[in-house]
């Protein structure tokens, strides 16, 4: 099955949900609305002819100042049986920042969604254990957002434990 066939199949079933499709150097990307994102992903997984049984990655993108809505959540899917790949992008606005979890469809999504939450602050509704996965649990802010400080010096946003260590060092000297 060609990627254009996959897109046609999706367009038949979810014509209103698909915002656009992009083909670039053999890659196929579909950009969809958030409301039925999980249904579409479930359809991609559970339709026998598509059979996208492998979720390669879940990531986020921050388009602050470049386009609206601000965030995208990107799913890379692969069908091991058919050797097909597809990229699904879900648009997420800044206020009301959530998507539905797919960790019940692909167990892999559990940690990927936690990472995405940790870095971008996107809430995955229905996630069984949505905690930070990389940063310390009491870290404030979402480091991969475009409005986060770029360098190591975070100023007021610095992690409290690290601030205390620097303070103690200063006092000891």
């Amino acid at each position: 099955m060609q990627s254009s066939d996959i897109v046609n199949l999706l367009k038949e079933k979810f014509s209103k949900e698909i915002l656009c499709t992009v083909y670039f150097r053999g890659d196929c990307t579909i950009i969809i609305k958030r409301d039925k994102a999980k249904e579409i992903l479930k359809f991609l997984k559970e339709t026998p002819s598509l059979d996208f049984d492998y979720l390669i990655d879940v990531t986020g993108v921050d388009y602050m100042g470049a386009r609206q809505p601000r965030f995208n959540v990107v799913y890379h899917l692969m069908s091991i049986k058919n050797a097909n790949r597809i990229r699904v992008k879900v648009e997420v606005p800044e206020e009301d920042c959530w998507v539905e979890t797919v960790s019940d469809l692909w167990a892999t999504a559990n940690w990927h969604e936690r990472e995405c939450f940790d870095m971008f602050g996107i809430e995955f509704k229905g996630h069984p254990d949505l905690r930070r996965i990389l940063m310390p649990e009491d870290w404030e802010g979402y480091p991969l957002r475009k409005d986060y400080p770029v360098g190591s010096d975070l100023g007021d946003k610095e992690w409290k434990t690290f601030k205390d260590i620097l303070q103690q060092t200063k006092e000891r000297a």
């Binding site: 360098g151 190591s152 010096d153 992690w159 690290f162 260590i165 620097l166 060092t169």
Partner: protein, 174 residues
């Protein structure tokens, strides 16, 4: 009965400040020299690595470069260690753990910053990375490189031994 190999009873100066009486099987030297000789000849670092520099540190410890010949044996407990080789990128999340380990070490304790990340943060001027471990630990030797080759680490360790040798005999306050 003691086996006397040499019958010379006069002290012989073998090095500045170190005298040997061969017939008496005796060495006469200042305690400072003896202590520093012992210290620099049995440097025990903590088994502790943070990133790719740790791989290079392991290579230095293995048979080809062989740290054992300097009396350097990695210890699996900070309580038995003299020096901490900060081998790799220091993240803010790791900082409290490093401080904890450092304070668990018995005095006198030393720190070697290995590689650009430990020295200055290296290329990682980012939200998660400490810009040089010297922002919260007193570093004695800096070894540049990304990562430093085992030869560079060995050179750093020899410099560190030199540093112990020149150090006055007194309690280090840290």
């Amino acid at each position: 009965m003691a086996l006397i190999l040499d019958t010379l009873t006069e002290p012989v100066e073998v090095e500045e400040g170190v005298k040997v009486v061969p017939a008496a099987n005796t060495i006469i030297m200042p305690i400072a020299k003896l202590a520093s000789w012992g210290k620099r000849s049995s440097i025990w670092p903590v088994t502790f690595g943070l990133a790719c520099c740790a791989i290079e540190m392991m290579a230095t410890g293995a048979s080809h470069y062989d740290l054992d010949r300097f009396g350097i044996i990695f210890r699996a407990s900070p309580r038995q260690s003299d020096v901490m080789i900060i081998a790799g990128t220091v993240t803010k999340k790791m900082a409290p753990i490093i401080v904890n380990l450092y304070h668990q070490m018995a005095e006198p304790r030393y720190v070697i910053a290995m590689g650009s990340c430990a020295c200055s943060g290296g290329v990682f001027n980012t939200y998660s990375t400490v810009q040089g471990v010297d922002s919260f630990l007193p570093v004695d030797v800096y070894i540049p490189g990304c990562p430093p080759r085992p030869e560079a680490l060995l050179d750093g360790i020899i410099k560190f031994q030199e540093l112990i040798k020149q150090e006055p005999y007194k309690q280090r306050k840290r």
